[in-house]
């Protein structure tokens, strides 16, 4: 498996502001994903980050609220825009399609714990 890092690991932000979360992988991967885990809840897929093109968003998530970039095969960012307390969650990136591995299993970063006050 790969080493996946996320920055920041946690943050406390004021409502109305935006936060950009970075996800870095130590090897090239085919696919990168962003998930949200609300307090006490399971994981919900926000979007698939596509290299060189616009991300593919799941129902209920929009680009204006969660803009995503993926400039290359090892890096992606998720921005949480115009935050409200309802955005307080753990945000996790995951990767699939590691060299030598299957394309369906996903490996997760450590997550970014966001609190909006």
């Amino acid at each position: 498996s790969a080493v996946i890092s996320q920055k920041p690991s946690r943050d406390i932000c004021q409502r109305g502001t935006s936060l950009t979360i970075q996800c870095q992988v130590d090897s090239q991967v085919t696919m990168m994903f962003w998930y949200r885990q609300q307090p006490g809840q399971s994981l919900t897929l926000i979007a698939t980050a596509n290299q060189g093109s616009e991300a593919t968003y799941e129902s209920g998530f929009v680009i204006d609220k969660f803009p995503i970039s993926r400039p290359n095969l090892t890096f992606s960012t998720l921005t949480v825009s115009n935050m409200s307390p309802e955005d307080s969650s753990i945000y996790l990136c995951s990767v699939a399609g590691l060299a030598g591995g299957g394309s369906y299993e996903q490996y997760f970063g450590p997550g970014t714990r966001l609190t909006v006050t």
Binding site: I4, T56, E58, S94, E105, Q106, F108
Partner: protein, 114 residues
Amino acid sequence: AQSVTQPDIHITVSEGASLELRCNYSYGATPYLFWYVQSPGQGLQLLLKYFSGDTLVQGIKGFEAEFKRSQSSFNLRKPSVHWSDAAEYFCAVGAAGATNKLIFGTGTLLAVQP
């Protein structure tokens, strides 16, 4: 639509006892199935996966899971639980195809008594 059900929200077992965590899925074709573990304040770690072939799969940390198509189940088992196994466990089903999306169950929180 695909879905995953983990009927047990919270389970407590004694250290050294056996463990079985239940997972039922709904999917129109042969699913790709996964078990992940999340320790407090950590990301998710992949325990094991099933794609095809032998229906009993072995994973890390002494865990195994059995795919039963007739019951649409993929239960996770461990013969002897250690205190370090206390964590939240998520079952997930994969969508084959270009999107490779995972649908997660609601999780089972495991507590281990000394």
